[in-house]
C-alpha cells in the first residue's frame, strides 16, 4: 500500500547507493595504481542519479509475496576515465585524481547520511511530539 512515507527519504537512499558504488570503483582504481594494463573507471554521479530517478520506487517481484531488490538500487554503468597522462604499461590510474575523487565521494556520502539523520530526527519529533 503506497503511503506518504514512500517519499520520506526523497531520493537520499538512491544517492547513498550511487555514492557507495562510486566509492567502490574509486577504491578499486587506487588498489590498481600499480597494476599493468588496468583502466581506471568512474561513475558520472549526475547521470547515475538521473537513471535511478527515472524508474519508479518499487520492489521487483515475480511472485506474490516476493521481496526483491529495488530497481533503482541496481548498479549504474561505470565508464572508463580519459587519462591525462597514460603510462607505457597501459595503466590509466592517476592516483592524485583518484584520491581527490574518493575524498569528494566520501564527503557526498557523509552529507547524504546527515540529511537522512535530520529527516529521521524530524519524523521522530513528529511521532513523539515535542519531547
Amino acid at each position: 500500500m503506497p503511503t506518504k512515507l514512500d517519499g520520506v527519504f526523497a531520493g537520499h537512499e538512491r544517492a547513498l547507493a550511487v555514492n557507495r558504488q562510486r566509492l567502490e570503483l574509486l577504491a578499486s582504481n587506487l588498489a590498481h595504481a600499480e597494476t599493468p594494463g588496468y583502466k581506471a573507471r568512474d561513475l558520472d554521479f549526475q547521470s547515475a542519479m538521473q537513471a535511478a530517478g527515472n524508474r519508479p520506487v518499487t520492489l521487483a517481484s515475480t511472485r506474490q509475496g516476493h521481496i526483491g531488490t529495488a530497481d533503482n538500487l541496481r548498479p549504474a554503468a561505470a565508464m572508463y576515465r580519459v587519462p591525462d597522462q597514460p603510462s607505457s604499461d597501459g595503466n590509466t590510474v592517476d592516483s592524485n585524481r583518484e584520491k581527490t575523487a574518493f575524498a569528494e565521494a566520501s564527503a557526498r556520502y557523509q552529507a547524504t547520511l546527515t540529511f537522512l539523520n535530520q529527516r529521521i530526527k524530524g519524523l521522530k519529533l513528529a511521532i513523539t511530539g515535542s519531547r
Partner: protein, 134 residues
Amino acid sequence: MPLTTIFDIAGSAMSAQSLRLNTTASNLANVNTISGDAATAYRSRQPLFRVAEGGDAGSTGVRVEGIVESTAQPTVLHLPDHPQADADGNVFMSNVNVVEEMVNMIAASRAYQDSVEVAKVSKELLLRTLSLGQ
C-alpha cells in the same frame, strides 16, 4: 553489494604491495650475494600484479599472479683468490639494480598508504551508516 567490498579491495591491494615490499627487501639484501656459477647467481625477483576476476559492478581487487625472476645477466667479477671462484677465476654477483629497487620500494609504500587511507575512510563511513537514525 555490501559496503564491506571496499575492505576486500583495499585489503588485496595492501597484501599485494606488502609482497612487493618483501621481494624488494629480499633483492636489496642479496645485492652483494656472490655465486660460483652463472646459473645459481641471485636474480632480482618481481611480483606480477593482475586484476582479480569476479568483482561486481566493475570494482575488483588485486591478484598476485606470481613472482618472476629478472632475466638480466649477473655481474661477472674476476676474483681468482675468491673461495667460490670457478675455473676461470670468475665469481657471479646478483643482477639486482639498487636504484630500481629503491624506486620500487617508494612506489609500493605509497600505494600501501593509499590503501590504508581508503580502508580508514570506508570504516568511518560504514560506522556512520550503521548509526543512522540514532
